[in-house]
Symmetry: D2
Subunit: 292 residues, 4 copies
């Protein structure tokens, strides 16, 4: 009944030296994620630098992702834009291309009122038939949707999932208490993985499977088997990496981490720049300690 | 020697019912500002909802603004985009169209490092000959540039001006103390107008002249004449309005305020929605108390 | 080897109508906690309004507590004062009276440097032989000790335990990762009970056993039996109460909750006032829903 | 009609090597302030480490201060305690000793509701005949009184003055707009001195006259003579020192600054420790640059 659960893996969007999207490389990296054991794939997320792409690029990545995954796993496509009109446009495009659901963060310049946010979701939801995951991430999107507003968004028929990335487990407690055991909330804060699963999160939206898929999958497996001790041990093994990639920014750290592991990962688009030497060294140490 | 000083007026970008830009109305509203006594004009600012426009729209508004102002006043054009490449593109366009300077906020999704921000400004500055005003507004742009970083940006030859919109007067004290009396910092926080002028701000970047140009101009005149008492009295007359338009969002409040004063101001682009009834009533009261 | 683990119960300090401490009532309420199944007792905590008592009162409560518990459970006595001298004085008094350990929060008026805090703990530790629990609670104490400082405090021989009350589970992750599985960190944030136990907290410092001891004890039991599902269910049963007592202040809510349950709980000392009618009604509803 | 205006100078409370109050030294330092040209004297403020003293010490300092000032200037005595009862006690003591007014900050451990704060002030006000200055300083006291609450406190007959130390000039704008030109608000944030006077503050509560009385007095004189340019120049001369003493803590920096200037200033009471070597050196440089 739930489309998504467990590990939902986020690919980066790699660029070439001229900062053009490298679609063949994107497909290669996506294929790694599909084969890593993830339960879902989410292109054009924050990790996939959605807001830095133009319309044509978003369409190309959407199509490439769905083509490559080829129904082996459900695909969640990020479609957020600043205007309602453009968000709806890309939501429709993703639906047509075969996405299982779309993810929408109320990307902001001006702070939006709750009413504006509700209408934004309502209009997008009315234009498509697939489910919407409402995504709260004030650190990137600039708007903090309260748990009460998120609860209200779930009244819109095809807004069926919440992705909470504030890192505040109390938001999850609120949703679960107010909406019952079946509420589909997902965790988007890597360092909160253990606490969120303990709180009943249905899944973990994460770029970490680009680097440490086995540890991510094993943590989820321990949770589903109700083994708290095992889950705790597994979590602490990966905790430093999760903290690092969250703290230093996912596009930069995943790109660097892949390279450290000998996997081609392309270039970033300016103003984003590669990790500096010191951070790169630290990431190298963390990965080495994990045997990667 | 300084291009900008005093009151730098920010027009809204009006839309029609279908949420397309209404260029003729834009020119009409711009003409009001030019004739209001402002010392400069700044299209495509936050008030002008720059981030909600596509490339073609930004170009059309830039050209319309420069054509309409027709060298009567210096024009400062907002050109910020998430990517360095697009920002540079629009900066070049503005220069060619006749802008006196461009304004650049490091619009963000991912938090940028100081190094990334510096390189962003450096690349843009290298591609144009006109001055850049570095614009700090974490509440909208999502990135907070420290006073130390702003000081560093002023080392780039054509980054010559700072617009500080945090509302924290201590940032201005820092810049003035570190860089001397001649440092060109501008205030972008309406409720800080008096404190910023007291601190030595060269000008006030504001949308208020759309509604109360005389009060704005008189405040600046009192400051230039060194009359603190008069400035204080004038400031407190307009303080409630300044607080209101900042608190409720400039595009919404300026659009509503113009309408209240019987001036056609078009529509907003979604997700932005008109002021609600209660706020509209309060704005009506504030303007009425000012005799508007 | 560990003195404290599991549920460490915090009594209130009840007053009479004239706002004098009601010691007989204090002992009665303490006895309820001892018999509730708690694993430890902590008089003169935040719940016990330590900072609102004078020296003689602190001594009287310390003696009354140790006399009443009479070695049936380990007793943790709060001894924090603003000055180092007074804190040491009360620490010595508690040791002499038979406390198993003392709890010290760096109560603050002026923000203290890390060096000042370290020396404060060092001097107190040097003057007593029993262990110290370093208590971090910026919301009440006004100083936020970083995880790195807490780690450093554990270098002082008899600073052996950390009580973390920020409600930020990442602080616990840091301590556990840096100091290993044996690090004795305790959770002092009621709404974080589940996440903290999941993260490996040795115990839960809480006033909740005054009202719902069985739910508290069962949650800890589920954790020790490694039953995450059961723990989650038990946590969500009590979550609303935990949120409420934290949000509205422990002295007020425990005093009111006891009264609602028909248990005499005395009066508060001004400026603290009883819960207002609305909050009292909400607490009544929450307790009723729990069958209390 | 107003008792206080202009520069209200705050003495430190000096201790001897054994951390006992050095009353003779206190009187000597107080005398310097009286002769420095200040408009009022405020013992037992934050600078005077009020919360670190016991009852007898507070009384001794109060009497010593009033005796030494001997009606040459109005004296404002800090009397805040955590409990209402103790605050009232010391307020009465100060009145009897000859204080012109008392200063009350709602010193907190548990966050107080607005109702609790209002009743606290009401009870204290009812017990004395002299005016009360309500003091808002969340950074030290732990409670942030909103401008609306401060406005409400002014309804209590002998709560006649507000001391605002948040450093947020908008709070002052609110008070002035809501309560008119005559509202007696004082600034307690040193780095805000210029902005607060520009906003209409009646006075500046400051420890700076211990170190740079002439610059402080001249700034106030420029304001009263309506000379904004002169005020700005004088402010920027002292701005770095004001920032430094606020940032590093008034008791530490004033004690060190006096010593640097060759004036005996005693010792601090633990946990407060002297400025470290690096900060001491920086303070030396700042004072030297001012010719001190």
């Amino acid at each position: 009944m739930n489309i998504f659960k467990g590990i939902i893996a986020y690919p980066i969007t790699p660029f070439d030296r001229e900062e053009k999207i490298d679609l063949p490389l994107f497909k290669t990296l996506l294929e790694r994620l599909v084969q890593s054991g993830a339960n879902g794939i989410a292109p054009l997320g924050s990790t996939g630098v959605l807001p830095y792409l133009n319309d044509a690029e978003k369409e190309a990545v959407t199509e490439a992702a769905l083509q490559q995954v080829n129904k082996r796993l459900p695909v969640l496509v990020g479609v957020s834009c600043l205007t309602t009109e453009r968000t709806l446009y890309h939501a429709k495009f993703a639906e047509k291309a075969g996405a299982a659901a779309v993810m929408v963060i109320p990307a902001s310049y001006w702070k939006l009122t709750d009413e504006e946010i509700f209408r934004h979701y309502e209009k997008i939801a009315a234009g498509i038939s697939i489910p919407i995951m409402a995504y709260n991430n004030p650190a990137t999107g600039g708007i903090d949707m309260s748990p009460a507003l998120l609860k209200r968004l779930l009244q819109i028929p095809n807004v069926t999932m919440i992705k909470e990335s504030t890192g505040d487990v109390q938001r999850m407690h609120y949703l679960r208490r107010e909406l019952g055991d079946d509420v589909e909330f997902f965790n988007g804060s890597n360092p909160l993985a253990l606490a969120a699963f303990a709180a009943g999160a249905k899944g973990w939206c994460t770029a970490a499977p680009n680097l440490i898929p086995d540890l991510n999958n094993q943590l989820y497996a321990a949770i589903t088997r109700n083994k708290l001790d095992t889950a705790r041990t597994l979590f602490y093994r990966q905790q430093e990496l999760l903290q690092f990639i969250s703290g230093k920014g996912l596009p930069r750290t995943i790109q660097a981490g892949l390279q450290i592991q000998g996997i081609e990962s392309g270039y970033l688009r300016s103003p984003l720049q590669p990790l500096g030497t010191e951070d790169d060294g630290r990431l190298r140490d963390i990965l080495a300690a994990l045997g990667n």
